[in-house]
């Protein structure tokens, strides 16, 4: 059982600048080969959770102060991003974060930094197979690409590193619905064909729960709900607040939102 677990987060707290506590005892686990999605509203602490895993808290003066993060059984909390990326954990940052003055193909090449000097032609081909739109743009500066192309590019860039655990932070952000659908289908294919374990942070719960095996919901730095994805899709609270398909169809008042939060507290 234990060796099916790729990532095990045990009760971590994260504090920025020594005083701002953002995560308050978060626990979650990701099984090998699965897609786990982490949902939650703005400021819930989703990005912070991913950065705690990838080591990117450090440059932001953040720290895991309690608890542990185990990756394939090894503790990795507060390790440097150089070490963590070389162990096979790659985070695709929120908001795309392209290298503007590099071409699309050069952007992809930066993805080989963890295995500098090894051949990568095959990987380029794989990325262009998943994202044919990038092939036509390979010589253009990333600064001139569309949002959709950039999202494909940064996912492809992550793939170039041969990740064993790929962390995607809001891949649907600011994209047209049709494109979101396409990208999520490709994410599913990557999971199935490459066997890559994925953790997907999303506001678009609908899409995320369609491809995920398991899901967590986060509020205020805590996990408030977790279950297999299909159960989460049927959960009335999730339906109401994340899928926007409440049974009554009517807009809920703020009072109801509060009661929901109260309910969640003892969940």
């Amino acid at each position: 059982m234990e060796n099916h677990i790729r990532l095990l987060i045990n009760n971590i707290s994260v504090v920025y600048s020594d005083v701002i506590q953002v995560l308050k005892g978060v626990s979650l686990s990701v099984r090998k080969g699965q897609i786990v999605s982490l949902l939650g509203s703005n400021g819930a602490g989703k990005t912070t959770t991913l950065k705690a895993i990838s080591g990117l808290l450090k440059p932001e003066n953040g720290k895991v102060t309690e608890g542990s993060i185990e990756y394939d059984g090894k503790p990795v909390q507060n390790s440097s991003p150089e070490e963590i990326t070389r162990m096979g954990i790659i985070q695709v940052l929120e908001g795309r974060q392209e290298f503007k003055y590099l071409t699309v193909e050069e952007n992809l090449k930066v993805g080989t930094a963890t295995r500098w000097g090894k051949p990568y032609q095959q990987d380029l081909k794989m990325v262009y197979d998943y994202f044919p739109a990038l092939l036509a743009r390979r010589k253009s500066l990333a600064g001139y690409c569309s949002g959709g192309e950039l999202q494909m590019m940064v996912i492809g860039r992550g793939l170039m590193a041969h990740p064993k655990l790929l962390l995607l932070d809001e891949p649907s952000l600011g994209l047209a619905p049709l494109l979101v659908k396409e990208i999520f289908q490709i994410i599913r294919r990557i999971n199935q064909e490459q066997g890559t374990t994925l953790m997907v942070v999303e506001q678009n719960a609908n899409m995320a729960l369609q491809i995920a095996h398991y899901g967590y919901v986060m509020e205020n730095g805590k996990i408030v709900l977790e279950s297999p994805a299909e159960e989460l899709r049927d959960n009335p609270d999730v339906k109401e607040f994340y899928l926007g398909t409440a049974a009554s169809g009517a807009l809920k008042s703020y009072k109801d939102v509060k009661s929901y939060k109260r309910r969640k507290r003892w969940l």
Binding site: L56, E82, T85, R86, Q97, E98, L102, V110, A113, T114
Partner: protein
């Protein structure tokens, strides 16, 4: 007319040396946003190391030259490791103050070892390097300046454009958090940019030393001309550095030739002041200069 052409040639060859030295300055700035106030001393260190190896140790010129290349490159790593790396994550202003301190320290050290006199290299440039173009003679040292300048600018141009390490360096300059997220060794990139800065500064320092003689004060003052060069040419590309370098080189030689030799050394800074007043972000530079 001949005088004009002579000044033109001198100006352009000087410009390539300025461009080469600016390349090192720009690299440090782009990868870590640090303004290296010790840049002038890097030229002097290179020139004196070559003097030490060629004239004092009496090594064959080629050996001395290669050892200077290797030595300054390694020195860049050492200086970064000892003095700059401990400050990563501190305020930028502290790092810049550190470079100021380093510069003065280097200068003091060079003065202590070599004194304040003007030294010169043994004559080693072959006379065959001198070119005769119609009535205009291009002295061998100017030809050497062209060769060294163009050669190194091309080598580093290719390095940044095509090598993986060069692409990683550009990625850090472009978007550091994203580079970190992909496992680019950012500290190694900082170290490499210091090493390259030491190396290219040494190259231009040596040729300038052949032209003007080797003097600590003079070389470090020439190194400071990197500021007008980058303000003119921008901090974005090798092309910008060449453009800025050549314009400053020409301004200097023409001012010296037609107006007054005493104005010659000042004119790059007059240009700097005027450009900043007219276009605060440089003439060809983009917004990056804003971060200065």
């Amino acid at each position: 007319m001949e005088f004009f052409l002579q000044l033109l040639i001198n100006g352009v060859s000087l410009g390539f040396l300025y461009a080469l030295s600016a390349l090192g300055f720009v690299m440090i700035f782009k990868s870590s946003s640090v303004l290296n106030l010790a840049h002038g001393e890097l030229l002097a260190i290179g020139a004196f190391l070559f003097l030490l190896l060629s004239a004092w140790a009496g090594l064959p010129i080629v050996v001395a030259f290669v050892l200077t290349l290797v030595g300054t490159f390694s020195l860049g790593f050492v200086v970064e490791r000892l003095f700059l790396r401990p400050l990563i994550g501190e305020n930028l202003i502290e790092v810049i103050m550190m470079t100021l301190g380093l510069g003065i320290m280097f200068k003091g050290l060079l003065l202590f070892i070599f004194g304040g006199d003007i030294h010169s290299y043994p004559r080693f440039l072959p006379e065959s390097l001198t070119l005769q173009l119609g009535n205009v003679q291009i002295p061998s040292v100017n030809v050497a300046a062209f060769i060294v300048g163009i050669l190194f600018l091309i080598v580093f141009g290719f390095f940044f454009k095509y090598s993986n390490q060069g692409i990683y360096m550009r990625s850090v300059a472009d978007n550091q958090p994203a580079a970190l997220s992909l496992g680019v060794h950012v500290r190694r990139v900082f170290a490499l940019s210091w090493a390259i800065a030491f190396l290219v500064a040494a190259m231009s320092g040596i040729v300038l030393g052949i032209i003007n003689g080797i003097n600590v004060h003079e070389l470090s003052a020439i190194g400071l001309k990197v500021f007008p060069v980058v303000i003119l040419g921008g901090l974005d590309s090798i092309g910008g550095a060449i453009l800025g370098g050549v314009i400053i080189g020409l301004l200097e030689t023409f001012t010296g030739g037609y107006i007054s030799t005493s104005l010659r050394e000042v004119v790059p800074y007059i240009a700097l002041v005027i450009i900043l007043m007219v276009k605060p972000y440089g003439l060809f530079g983009l917004v990056e200069i804003e971060r200065v």
